[in-house]
Amino acid sequence: MTAASLSRFLRPEQCAIRLVESQEIGIVGVGEATVPHIRFFNQSLGLDEADFMRKTHATFKLGIEFVDWARLGDAYIHPFGDYGRPFHGVRFLHLWNRLRLNGDPTLLDEYSLPVMAARQSRFALPSTDPASVLSTFSYAFQFDATLFAPYLRAYAEKRGVRRTEGRVVDVGVRGTDGFIESLTLANGERIEGDLFIDCSGFFGLLTEKSLHTGYEDWTHWLPCDRAVAVPCESYGPLLPYTRATARTAGWQWRIPLQHRTGNGYVYSSKFVSDDEAAATLLKHLDGKALAEPRMLKFVTGRRKKTWNRNCVAIGLAGGFVEPLESTSIYLIQAAITRLLELFPDRNFDPVVRDEYNRIMDVEFERVRDFIVLHYHATERDDTPLWNYVRNMPIPDSLAYKMELFRERGEVVNYKLGLFYEPSWVAVYVGQRVMPKRYDPTLEYRPLEELQRHADSTRAAVRAGAQSLPTQAEFIARYCGMNP
């Protein structure tokens, strides 16, 4: 992603880009889920959406379904879209909450077009008519990461990126200022550079092994430290969403692609053995496994400086907040966007680096808090992991947000970073963090008027969802793989 994006904005005669990659180190992920920002990335590269989807066997994603998170038996979808329409300037959540506190059992889901469409496996591109209920959502993709990488490689190489196959055996660091000077490959080739971007994954070949940048460990908030992944055959309707099912010591992902389904179990090694985890994963596949399970180890947290000296760590080398909300690719994208905005010259002004790190710290922390919410806001007490996360102290930056939502359904909004109001609402309510009160100005309106507004919204959502084709039909028409 970084090479493709840099090659889009830097011409080869201006700045030579080299990429060193070793086939010996594989690509993590058997199916990658994303958030809607990926579309801006693809647009910035000028990629054709249908072509991209066809070549990466991609499906559409309207959100994530969380199963068994707050209580065993619960299931909710965090959709890419808002709930309902405001009522006299008051957000719909408040109206729903007032009706709920008055005894109305209708789920918030019924006021969300993407949730209702997802439940029926339906999809079409959003309408461009802002008055239509079919414009009230956004979408992302689920694709095969092992196909996306070569797709981007072809793009980057066409624009002058020189790719070298090889394993880095030595990193030359300048004595005067500790900057990286060169890489030496196993075949003896020495590659010099001004700016080094470390996309080597958890290992942090440059940022950690050479520059000893240091890592801020978030395991006390996000205790999962391993994942085991396996693809399986597709089964059932092609769902336009990712599923995350809570398990005894973590959770399992299910990412439907056009040709197969990606699965994985993210778990804490403190609470379950690797063999047990793999067995649990294989037991819960909905089709035949297509490979041997692969195991990954990680430590949740972030590099203390994602930009250190002349080295910027992007992707897992920069930090890892676990894949629960499909934020890995988003964080890569955010890092690339900020790097382009703050692209350095050879002086490597510390002011620029500090601002980059300030912004990336905020990005990571806001994603972290959102994910911690999923674990912490649970009533489950059936296993040691859930007992731990339910009782653990949480970051202050999350605690006050939760308090404000509990008090009366208020979401703390911010401009920097991912996840806007509808996302927070979806997860709070889905995790049973229910607002005790609502916007009191609703008290000044008759209940029947509120009920009418809710009913008409729900009817429009239902009719809108039913008017969509199934995702399978839509994909066949739009971007189906060649048989």
Binding site: C15, P440, Y444
Partner: protein, 505 residues
């Protein structure tokens, strides 16, 4: 939960009547009794005299209140505004417009100021105002509503209004009364607090009436009759960064066509401003009494005015903000929350933004502490962002012709502003916070207008072919000039837009 049924607003000026209108609209007719009582000291000068210079947010906010632009302009002597013009700030004789407009356009994702910086580094004389339709139109005295065609250069700006502040206050009052707000026609004498939780229980008016409400808005001006007088919320002074503490105001008759900009002219110990409304100009003179004696200030001010139609007024203030804007069951709006000089024209915007936030977090009678906490956190950030932009005007100067300017040049800055300047000076980048009012185009225009150019351009801009860049940027300049020249004279457009319309048949 117990919904609030009675709100008492204390104040006499724009903040009080704006609060009344916005709360009445938000709570629905007849559901909540909203009363307005006069403060002890009467309408606050710094809050009211210069509130007529506004930002573009006023348009959508008025629309949301059910006020149509045509009626409002017809009834309040309002005129159109394209930005703020700053004269003599960086160096005597220098001028720039902080316009409500896109400035140039990105090329290959490179921000426009970097493109311009590259040309400047190559020896070209550049002026950002040449690339902003609103700045060009302001210089030419032209105005029309922005085009709806997104492909047209005439769609790349927005606009605000110049209001006659006393007329606007009366207009809001009439509208509030139309919406059912009760004018209590009495002045505040004393207040009573509840022993159990310290909430304000009731206020007593001078005529002996006792008024109880569940919620209070303090719009009493800098004195803060309730927020400070009763609740002791505290004050954080910003005088070390914004030393102006005195103001004179006067209204002069219209002699020349109204310009679509507020003028801010730097003077030896502060600045002078002119807000052009239809029938004349609202003038102000803001100064530091430590650097200029009152009689000298008055003489200097009068020397620039002729045909004064409203008697000049003088008042003192201290810039800064309340430590808590929302305390117990009371929220401060306007100068009772923060005192800022009129530079930057954000006064009315900040009041509307505060009220919007209050309505979003509107409490029930228990006034949960978490709501007040969130409100205070967000508003502190909002005021800080505006303050930083104001301080920048005074600090980023090459003037050394008076003790005042030497003080401003050399003062120690707030950390947040220090970081913003450092980042822009080194790299042309903007450090923005979540609650900032002013966005990248605003900061860019003020930085460059005040003479701060990035020491280094974006390295990506350095890669561009210079001749091609020059051609493309030159083309932008032509498009902008053409769009600005295509607009009608402001005065003519204003006359058409505010002329009485025939009644619909």
């Amino acid at each position: 939960m117990t919904a609030i049924r009675n709100i008492l607003i204390v104040g006499d000026g724009i903040a009080a009547w704006l609060s009344a209108v916005m709360l009445a609209r938000a709570t629905g007719r007849g559901q909540v009794v909203i009363g307005v009582a006069g403060s002890r000291g009467g309408a606050d000068g710094i809050e009211n005299e210069f509130a007529g210079s506004t930002l573009p947010s006023i348009g959508p906010r008025h629309a949301a209140l059910g006020l149509t632009e045509f009626e409002l302009m017809r009834d309040t002597q309002a005129a159109f505004k394209l930005g703020d013009e700053y004269r003599d700030w960086d160096v005597p004789g220098g001028a720039y417009v902080h316009a409500f407009s896109d400035v140039g356009a990105r090329l290959d994702a490179i921000a426009f100021h970097h493109l311009l910086g590259r040309l400047r580094a190559a020896g070209q004389t550049v002026d950002i105002g040449d690339y902003s339709v609103a700045a060009q139109a302001a210089r030419l005295g032209r105005f029309a509503h922005p085009s709806q065609d997104g492909n047209s250069a005439a769609s790349t700006f927005s606009y605000a209004l110049h209001l006659d502040a006393p007329t606007y206050a009366r207009y809001l009052r009439a509208y509030a009364e139309h919406l059912g707000v009760v004018s209590l026609n009495g002045r505040l004498a004393s207040m009573q607090r509840r022993a159990s939780d310290g909430f304000i229980d009731a206020v007593l008016l001078e005529d002996g009436r006792r008024l109880a409400a569940e919620f209070y808005l303090d719009c009493s001006g800098a004195a803060g009759d309730l927020i400070q007088g009763v609740l002791g919320a505290g004050f954080e002074s910003w005088a070390q960064w914004l030393p102006c503490n005195s103001a004179l105001s006067a209204f002069t008759a219209r002699k020349t066509p109204p310009r679509p900009v507020t003028e801010f002219i730097a003077r030896s110990a502060g600045c002078q401003l002119r807000i052009p409304v239809r029938q004349g100009n609202s003038n102000g003179f803001i100064y530091s009494a430590a650097h200029l004696a009152d009689d000298e200030a008055q003489a200097a001010f009068r020397a620039t005015l002729d045909d004064v139609t409203r008697e000049p007024r003088a008042f003192r203030f201290e810039q800064g903000r309340r430590r808590q804007f929302w305390s117990h069951n009371c929220v401060a709006i306007g100068a009772s929350a923060a005192v800022l000089e009129p530079l930057g024209s954000a006064g009315l915007h900040l009041m509307m933004s505060a009220l919007t936030r209050l309505i979003t977090l509107f409490p029930d009678a228990s006034c949960a502490a978490s709501l007040a906490g969130e409100y205070n956190r967000a508003m502190a950030g909002e005021y800080r962002g505006v303050r930083d932009l104001l301080v920048l005007h005074y600090h980023a100067t090459r003037r050394d012709d008076s003790e005042f300017w030497r003080h401003c040049r050399n003062m120690q800055l707030p950390d947040s502003l220090e970081q913003r300047i450092r980042l822009f000076r080194h790299r042309g980048h903007f450090a923005l916070d979540d609650e900032d009012t002013f966005m990248e185009p605003d900061w860019m225009q003020v930085f460059l207008g005040q003479g701060i150019w990035p020491e280094r351009t974006d390295p990506l801009a350095d890669f561009m072919d210079l001749d091609l860049l020059r051609q493309k940027v030159d083309r932008m300049r032509q498009i902008v000039r053409h769009a600005a020249e295509g607009l009608p004279p402001h005065e003519q457009y204003l006359a058409q837009r505010t002329a009485p319309r025939p009644a619909p048949r």
